[in-house]
């Protein structure tokens, strides 16, 4: 006999609303129906206004990767304006902020994954470490979450030599904390047994579904926008994609753990580049946005895409956003099919779903 179970929209595993209609045969899921759109806000329509205000609006698409959204938007709009060149210092500051953002997002994702299997102690430890990153954000940008330092043409706040030293000190501190955390997670027999072999996405499947970010990299697909199509300072600071072979929940989480150390390493390389760079933060635009352009950024959850079309006035004609969670959303249903009901929460949370991004 088949029974249907409503998983969501309000479920403790996800903070945001997403509905899965599961058709069950005993304990095993036989059919999945994914329903999204509960937090649709019509942001793409709202983007058809002053392009300077759009940078603040793009931060509101997703609160976890605000810096990535606003950077991607600004890169896309800057491309449509003739004769606008981003100052080097602004590019370095943006890149540092992107890596810091990835750090705090991965701490959050790992914490929530552990919480979904009932490991609340480690969840709290992850969030304690995340708080350190948020403190750095408050020191440098003035806000903990919605930073608001990106504007079309540059950034609004500088990172001085003292702040640079502070960020380097923070890197040492957070690396020590992350090593402790890694030791606790990676060596834990219980967590490994719970997560290994659950929700396996093979390499072929990952390529067919077109998943991005840590989900793809966990399935042995070395796709990273920072490596494939470098932007900002990634042209100078080389990034090698971190790849795990197994494709299960454990591999996806391990990619995130290893990417934390990669981000810390990148920040260490980036901060010394600020020395000797002219104190120019902002380039004034001489032309209005005209023509079309797109930009790609590697957000913590994968590839983020912004398409912008200008009409030679202050208002933009069209902005299209393809968020990383939307790219990964296709992979949720095939993985759940055939798994146990108890694993549904764990499998979906290893995708690091951000429903605010998903629905826009």
């Amino acid at each position: 006999m088949r029974t249907s179970i409503q998983f969501g929209p309000q479920h403790p595993v996800w903070i945001e609303p997403l509905r899965l209609k599961l058709t069950m045969d005993g304990e095993i899921v036989k059919g999945v129906d994914l329903e999204a759109g509960y937090v649709h806000r019509g942001l793409e329509k709202k983007f058809e206004w002053d392009y300077n205000k759009g940078a603040y609006l793009s931060e509101r698409v997703c609160a976890i990767c605000t810096q990535h959204h606003s950077t991607c938007y600004c890169l896309a709009v800057e491309g449509t304006m003739a004769g606008l060149e981003l100052p080097r210092r602004a590019a370095i500051i943006r890149t540092i902020m992107l890596e810091l953002e990835r750090l705090h997002s991965h701490f959050l994702a790992i914490g929530l994954t552990l919480e979904s299997i009932g490991f609340e102690n480690l969840f709290m430890l992850c969030f304690r470490n995340r708080e350190q990153v948020l403190d750095v954000f408050e020191r440098t940008t003035g806000n903990r979450v919605l930073h608001g330092i990106n504007i079309v043409g540059g950034v609004t706040r500088n990172i001085g030599p003292e702040m640079g030293k502070e960020i380097l000190d923070f890197c040492d501190d957070i690396e020590k904390r992350a090593r402790d955390l890694e030791k606790m997670i990676v060596n834990s027999y219980t967590i490994k047994e719970r997560m290994q072999g659950v929700g396996v996405m093979t390499e072929k499947m990952a390529k067919e579904l077109g998943v991005v970010g840590p989900v793809a990299r966990g399935s042995n697909v070395p796709y990273d926008v920072r490596h494939a199509a470098p932007y900002l300072l990634y042209k100078e600071v080389k990034v090698t994609p971190i790849v795990e072979k197994d494709g299960d929940c454990w591999a996806r989480s391990l990619v995130r753990v290893r990417e934390i150390f990669q981000s810390i390493d990148l920040i260490r390389q980036l901060v010394p580049l600020l020395e000797g760079t002219p104190d120019e933060l902002f380039a004034k635009a001489k032309a209005m946005p005209e023509g079309e352009n797109f930009a790609r950024v590697e957000a913590p959850r994968g590839e983020l895409f912004y398409y912008v079309r200008g009409k030679k006035s202050k208002e933009l004609d069209r902005v299209k956003i393809r968020t990383s969670t939307y790219g990964n959303g296709l992979g949720i249903a095939p993985l759940i099919k055939g798994s146990y009901l108890a694993d549904v929460g764990l499998i979906t949370i290893t995708f690091d779903p951000c429903i605010g991004c998903f629905d826009r």
């Binding site: 002053d50 300077n52 205000k53 603040y56 609006l57 102690n121 480690l122 430890l125 304690r128 403190d135 408050e138 020191r139 003035g142 806000n143 919605l146 608001g148 609004t156 402790d180 030791k183 606790m184 060596n187 834990s188 027999y189 219980t190």
Partner: protein
């Protein structure tokens, strides 16, 4: 397994990491972007801040010469501070406490260099002069200049 036990023991002995929030207020770092205050003696009512505000929380009433600031709608982005030509807007580092009311703040502009106030003053002076019956030649000439 032993690592987590070590951690639990450490946590049991150490001080609590969290703070007792409503009773011990959160200490912000210097440079935090918080509320915006307007200086009525500097503002010239040019409406640049109103046009550039992403949250549309600044409304300038030119006729009443007042600035209406919707505190609860503000996103503390700092754009108005950047665009202001006379540095009449400043951002402080203290957040507003949670409140049940919409904290709308009205600021009366008293700057004599504001075009609308200047014009009104001149008109008033002209009226006064007309009432006396003796047209004052100095004032209209000043206005032309």
């Amino acid at each position: 397994m032993l690592d987590i036990l070590e951690n639990i023991l450490k946590n049991a002995v150490s001080k609590p990491y969290t703070s007792n929030y409503p009773f011990t207020p959160y200490q912000h770092f210097p440079g935090t972007r918080a509320d915006v205050t307007f200086d009525g003696t500097k503002c010239i009512l040019c409406q640049l801040c109103q046009r550039s505000c992403p949250a549309e929380c600044i409304i300038i009433h030119k006729e009443e010469t007042t600035i209406e600031y919707l505190n609860t709608q503000c996103i503390r982005c700092g754009t108005c501070v950047r665009v202001c030509p006379t540095n009449a807007i400043s951002q402080n580092e203290v957040y507003t406490k949670p409140s049940r009311e919409r904290l709308t703040i009205y600021t009366l502009v008293t700057n004599e260099n504001a075009p609308i106030i200047k014009k009104r003053k001149m008109e008033a002076a002209k009226k006064a002069a007309d009432a006396e019956g003796k047209p004052v030649p100095d004032k209209p000439e000043e206005a032309k200049k």
